[in-house]
């Protein structure tokens, strides 16, 4: 798997000064990645049309989100990496301030505060941190000798812990874990010693009990218990899992056909157009459809890994690697959740699930990947 170059039109790091520079390169676009994302976006709209019961409104709105998100990606791709590196502390601190703001004056539904309303515009500061945290960790590590010393590691952990703790309080456990993971990936890729990783693993095992007792809200505990014993809440989370499994399983290898999914179409499946959308795909397209989607995801990840291998400097390398691995975690957590392997934490399926906010963040992340991949080789500092 992995690091095969998909396009020879793109010059690699060694040839960039001799060959004429291609248009794509000048526009900072990574063509293979762009093609993959466009294919995924089309698949997403197709599945969404079915999942929303043939409701064009959803599709129309999602198309607009997609256009905005792709535009955002192009804009982000134009930014020189050094700019990101220099500004990451400010973005990070600003993000933390916004998170505190959410806790103080946030709005939300069902006992959770996740949004800030500024001039009638609602947005989730935790989305900003999905990119802010890995960026900050990468910039921080970039400054220091590699592999990271103990002090450096502790510094990086603090950078990760503050926003994670703030987001847990919203409470949004799923997002908090994913953001923490993105920062930890950067640290791991920088060469955090295996000893420390082992020690941390042990520490996590030891601290699991107190966190369970005092760190979690009732409903979060409920969700984990539901996973372990879906019979506990057959009407809530358990109901969703029960039905999503029935939808997926009844799809078989070949599926029931587009728009023919009885579970999906008969409203048995709540959230079928958001978090549980893969159940619709699995029911209507069967295992074939699922494997195809997984293949698309793998190609995106492979391209991301390739970009990180080719990056010139540590900052870009860590950032690209972390974004790519976090993307995979999103995919894994969402599918694991829908198929009943993981607790229901409310993570959307990247690019496929309906929703604007997460999509825009995601594409901005790919914009950063493109910025890393098309970075000119500058004189080494």
């Amino acid at each position: 798997m992995g690091s095969r170059d998909f396009s020879h039109r793109l010059s690699d790091a060694h040839g960039s000064l001799r060959k004429p520079v291609s248009l794509a390169r000048r526009l900072h676009i990574d063509v293979p990645l762009l093609v993959l994302l466009l294919v995924l976006a089309s698949v997403g709209l197709g599945v969404l049309f079915s999942a929303s019961g043939g409701d064009m409104n959803y599709v129309r709105r999602q198309s607009i989100f997609m256009c905005l998100a792709f535009m955002g990606m192009f804009i982000v791709a134009q930014v020189p990496l050094d700019f990101f590196r220099r500004w990451s502390p400010w973005a990070y601190l600003g993000g933390c301030a916004l998170l505190v703001g959410v806790l103080l004056f946030g709005t939300g539904a069902k006992g959770a505060q996740r949004w800030l309303e500024i001039a009638g515009f609602r947005f989730q500061p935790s989305e900003v941190m999905k990119l802010g945290v890995p960026m900050m960790v990468a910039a921080f590590l970039h400054q220091r000798a590699q592999p990271p010393s103990l002090m450096t590691v502790l510094g990086a952990l603090a950078i990760v812990a503050i926003p994670a703790a703030l987001i847990v309080r919203q409470p949004d456990l799923g997002t908090s874990i994913l953001i923490a993971a993105s920062g930890l990936f950067a640290l791991y890729l920088a060469g955090l010693s295996w000893k420390m990783i082992g020690a941390a693993g042990l520490g996590a095992l030891v601290s699991a009990w107190p966190i369970w007792q005092w760190g979690l809200r009732d409903y979060q505990r409920q969700r984990i218990l539901t996973l372990l014993n879906p019979h506990d809440d057959r009407l809530g989370a358990g109901w969703n899992i029960f039905n999503s499994k029935a939808a997926i399983g009844s799809g078989g290898v070949y599926g029931k056909g587009y728009l023919q999914g009885t579970q999906s179409q008969l409203d048995f499946l709540p959230e079928s157009h958001t978090d549980f959308i893969i159940a619709v795909l699995a029911e209507e397209w069967g295992m074939r459809g699922v494997l195809l989607l997984l293949l698309l995801y793998i190609l995106v990840i492979a391209r991301g890994i390739y970009i990180s291998f080719m990056a010139q400097h540590l900052f870009g390398r860590l950032l690209a690697g972390s974004i790519t691995l976090t993307f995979f975690v999103y995919v894994f957590v969402n599918i694991g959740m829908v198929t009943g392997l993981l607790p229901v934490v409310g993570v959307p399926l990247p690019i496929i699930s309906y929703g604007g906010t997460s999509l825009i963040t995601l594409m901005a992340g790919f914009g950063i990947l493109m910025a890393v991949g098309t970075e000119r080789r500058r004189v080494h500092f």
Partner: protein, 630 residues
Amino acid sequence: MPHDHHLKDPHTEQRLFRNRMLVAIVGVIVLLGVLVARFYNLQVVNYDDYRTQSDENRIQVRSVAPTRGLVYDRNGLLLADNRASYNLSIVRERVRDLDATLELIGHLIRLDDSDVAKFRKRMKRPRPFEPVPLRFRLSEEEIARISVNQFRMPGVSVQAELVRHYALGDLFAHSVGYVGRISDRDLSNFTQEDVRLYRGTNSIGKVGLERSYEKTLLGEVGYENVEINARGRVLRVLERQDPKPGAALTLHLDARLQQVASDALGDRRGAVVAIDVNTGGVLAFVSKPSFDPNLFVTGISFADYRALSDSLDVPLFNRAVQGQYPPGSTLKPLMSLGGLEAGLITRETKIKDPGFYKLPNDPRIYRDHIRWGHGEKVDLIHAMAQSCDVYFWDMAHRWDIDGMHDMAAHFGLGSKTGIDLPMERSGLFPSRDWKRGARGMPWFPGDSLNTVLGQGFVLATPLQLAVMTATIANRGTHYRPQMVKTINGVEQPAEILHNLEAHPGNWDLVFEGMEAVVNRSFGTGKRAGKDLDFRVAGKSGTAQVVGIAQGARYDSEALQERHRDHALFVAFAPVDKPSIAVAVLVENGEAGGAVAAPVARELFAEWVPRTETQVKTARDVSFTEGAGNG
């Protein structure tokens, strides 16, 4: 950012990174394998099971609502229970043409526009395949009509539901309260956990104990797994987890005493609160006029609600905990104790009462309510019995307001009593700080004169006055007032908020003064003890009416009546071993002694003989058992 001068070796860095990434790639592949295996397991291995499940016959999980806990009075009389009622419900997913179906139903049974509008709102609840109620309380005839035409209307069904019923109607409307349909506003306050708890439940406590004990009464939702065919018919129940019914509440309230209090008030507006001196349990809790709580249970009609909310007499207003009135002279026993404790007066202190009072260096004249005064030598007992204002003014002038405020706070004035009912108001007892904060003014000597008579800034709810009186009867033991006696048979402990230490002789004097109010020939509250064979102690009061309720209709006679003072009376009995303390408020009743005292008397006549026989029987029992602790 300045660049630091760590030795950086790009090659080592890159190698390190690549090694790490390779390990990560292995991890990704393994996890992908897990996902693929999972899909294989679901879609290939167990394909047949899931296929059957989703084909013609589908498994459905349905919530089973718990029955709401019952509410009893202290003697086990049912105040709130659940009765079967039949609703017409629609499962949206099974109706082909909703508008046509609604029209057809409209031909068969009575269907208002408001029913349809409410139904469309309810449909937004996010539970698929859940029957959404359209009309409640169908008559026998309507049920028959629907049944006959059922085949023409797929997705429409008649469903039995347990509906809250208040057997004694308006008698307990302000204490037990009522439930109503879960509204959008309730829903927006729901947490995730609430959403789970209320699946299948349509009602939620809105007012009174139904609201404050909502979670206790609710119970725990159950569910059943049913197999349904494509037409929505239930084929069989596969498994069922029964709901846990809500806990039963037994109240301290006594239905008979409640009835006596309500009858004694008659058609007048007002409130009566009676408290068990030894526990703080609330024995009677009346606010009049009242209303029929059953109107609210399945959604009150617009016309009915207008009638209640536009009424000049504000029947929905819970006067006992929300009505804040100047307590007037009912504060005098408390003030006497404070003056005695502070050493400002003694039993022997006598003043001359010319019928008015003047502060030094202040031309203003404060007039007693008896123009010619109470005489040359007025002592404490006399001052209480005849409600002599000058005596108390003379004392207040020498007493620091903060001391007065602290004494009142001991008896629960100026803050919420902590009763287990919602929407309680705190009343007000002024202090120097309060006046500076709220009015931006210093404390004037004249303010003390108003405060000691329970006027000026002072406000109290009838409940607070009852708590104050019970605390006096207890000689300083201040209990938190409680409505609920037992939850599912488990006794709720009485809670002492604090004990006021005062000289026993001073308590005796206060008791003597309050007894004089009722028993001396010149006392203002003689009617409270009329023809009773035990001793009663009390204090009358009048509350000056400041604002008046603005009615929609201008009715000069009614408005004139609403300008009159409110009549107040607080009392406890029997004096030698107090068991019950009562506060009575009659709006615009003019004189406390004449109007409110007889109401208190009725409660004593009903309650005290019963407690005495209880004491007797208890003693008899202890003798027969040979415990012999007379």
